[in-house]
């Protein structure tokens, strides 16, 4: 076969990676979230692998399917498909259905790990350190965050992309096979614990509900009572409530937010919530 031995050049892989690094969300819409970012990252590869227009069109059509995942960790999926596309150009064993089945199968697990690891763990931890450094108006923390996050983000995404390319469909086994399951469970433990830490450190739901006796002296400060049972009880309760509404009652996040608006209004009217702010 004349196609045998095609290999994507390092230069093209770099180009593909940078297209993804930059453009995965630029043309975001609710209908096709990262689809166009995916198309632009696959284009250099498709153009290099296939000389004639027809083959290029056939290959590109594969990537018109909806795509959305956590973009940082999701680089690995783009890398895997680059490797699969190379395999398809060489022997044709790989087809549309294989590639799209794999993409669809990986989107969910990668989004789950990525969101809890990158957005739920890594970013709050770096931000937490940076906030301490910027206390009192020093630019140091902001600069620290810019440097650390971008180095980790860029090289982490690069590593994921090239690892995906190197492993190809073997990566799928690692990501969703027995070892993958063990890794995901381990990461979910870290994610769960750190998200708990983030919630306790940065999310504060407080009630101002107080009962006073005749002389105006408070004899029941509800917040103190709740905290003596379990510090942060009210915060944790609200988080579990939101989780329950979304996970068990299948209510969309937007509707949960609207419910919270109503809860807040009722809470403010009854004196349960009072942020105690003034201009």
């Amino acid at each position: 076969m004349e196609n045998t031995g095609k290999k994507i050049s390092r230069k093209t892989l770099n180009k593909s990676f940078h297209h993804w690094f930059y453009g995965h969300l630029t043309a975001f819409s609710q209908e096709h979230m990262q689809t166009f970012g995916y198309l632009t990252s696959m284009l250099p590869i498709v153009e290099e692998l296939y000389d004639n227009k027809e083959d290029q069109e056939k290959a590109m059509k594969t990537y018109t399917a909806f795509f959305n995942t956590e973009p940082q960790l999701g680089s690995i999926i783009v890398g895997i498909t680059a490797s699969l596309e190379e395999a398809r150009a060489n022997d044709g064993h790989v087809d549309d259905a294989t590639i799209n089945g794999l993409r669809a199968g990986l989107m969910g697990p990668i989004a789950g790990i990525g969101d809890s690891l990158v957005v739920g763990t890594l970013i709050p931890v770096i931000l937490g350190i940076a906030l301490g450094m910027s206390d009192g108006g020093s630019p140091l923390g902001a600069i620290f965050y810019i440097i650390v996050w971008n180095l980790l983000g860029y090289f982490g995404m690069r590593f994921a992309y090239f690892k995906g390319y190197e492993l190809g469909d073997k990566a799928v086994g690692i990501l969703v096979g027995a070892q993958g399951k063990a890794i995901r469970k381990a990461i979910a433990t870290v994610g769960g614990m750190v998200v708990g830490g983030v919630a306790a450190t940065w999310v504060t739901v407080k009630t101002s509900f107080t009962l006073r006796n005749g002389s105006g002296k408070a004899y029941l400060v509800l917040q103190d009572k709740l905290d003596s049972v379990y510090p942060g009880l009210l915060t944790a309760a609200f988080i579990v409530l939101c989780w329950w509404l979304m996970a068990k009652k299948n209510i969309s996040p937007i509707k949960v937010m609207l419910i919270l608006v109503v809860v807040a209004l009722i809470g403010v009217l009854t004196g349960f919530f009072n942020p105690g702010l003034k201009y």
């Binding site: 018109t64 940082q72 469970k185 998200v195 919630a199």
Partner: protein
């Protein structure tokens, strides 16, 4: 303190770069320029009061540190928080004569950020909706095999969405900000029901973000245990986040080793049961 057209325009460009579908990409745009802490640095430099910018940024970052936008669901828009909210807060703090790093200034910044951030979700959905037009052009290009046009669709045309939903709103709101801040203060007094509600909502919204994250790792009550252990470490034992992360690693290691040991045991089992085990493993995929 006033914001000139030039300063407002620079803020407008930064607003276009940041936010979830921002024009600087999500790593540099959303997760760097969009963070209020970084926004505080940028706004401080543009408006010529670095210390106040950072202080306002720190205050707002505290509200939005747990802001998660999974699957394109936003509870607050970071471009609005960072490049409309922070400049307006700076103007307000300045006009009130508050010290940049005082608690009152931080509260003012928080309420301004929450207000602008929540209202700013309109900008997010506006941008995303307008991008449908460019995507439509993209699909036609794909049909005709003119793939090079996809670059313009992905990197070029969305600038127009941002011109309308990031640049112009930012320029207008920050330039006319000082009067707007005054008008807002009269229209929505801080001890009135609307502002109290809004700020309470602002405090509750991060719960949704956290819950969305949990939805992906928690299926039943048992899966809540790591979350509550982490919560307890921070809330009761007052560990900071780095310490919580370090402690969590040991649990992750145990979990991984245990699972791998179980897997190895299963593989060592007789071949006739091996097949069914594999089938079981595949079910989760």
């Amino acid at each position: 303190m006033t914001i000139s057209w030039l300063q407002a325009s620079i803020l407008g460009i930064f607003a276009s770069l940041s936010s979830m579908p921002g024009m600087a990409g999500s790593t540099i745009g959303n997760y760097t320029l969009g963070r209020p802490l970084v926004g505080g640095l940028v706004c401080g430099l543009i408006l010529g009061d670095l210390k106040m910018g950072i202080a306002a940024g720190v205050a707002m970052q505290l509200v939005y540190i747990a802001l998660v936008t999974p699957g394109g669901t936003v509870s607050a828009d970071v471009r609005a928080v960072s490049y409309i909210g922070i400049p307006l807060a700076m103007v307000a703090i300045h006009s009130q004569g508050l010290a940049a790093t005082s608690a009152n200034a931080a509260d003012l910044a928080k309420s301004m950020g929450t207000l602008v951030g929540t209202v700013g979700t309109v900008l997010f959905y506006g941008t995303a909706t307008m991008n449908l037009v460019w995507q439509h052009m993209g699909w036609r290009a794909v049909e005709r095999g003119e793939f090079r046009k996809l670059y313009a669709v992905d990197w070029g045309y969305p600038w127009i969405s941002h011109l309308i939903f990031s640049f112009i709103p930012t320029v207008l709101m920050t330039h006319f900000g000082s009067s707007a801040v005054q008008a807002l203060k009269t229209a929505l007094p801080m001890d009135g029901i609307p502002m109290k509600t809004l700020f309470t909502v602002g405090a509750l919204l991060p719960c949704v973000g956290i819950a969305i994250l949990l939805k992906q790792i928690v299926d039943g009550p048992v899966d809540f245990i790591p979350f509550f252990v982490g919560f307890t470490f921070a809330a009761s034992l007052k560990l900071n986040l780095v310490s919580v992360t370090v402690v969590s690693l040991i649990f992750a290691m145990i979990s991984y080793k245990l699972d791998m040991a179980i897997n190895t045991n299963r593989q060592a089992a007789p071949a006739n049961t091996g097949g069914t085990v594999d089938d079981e493993e595949d079910e989760d995929i």
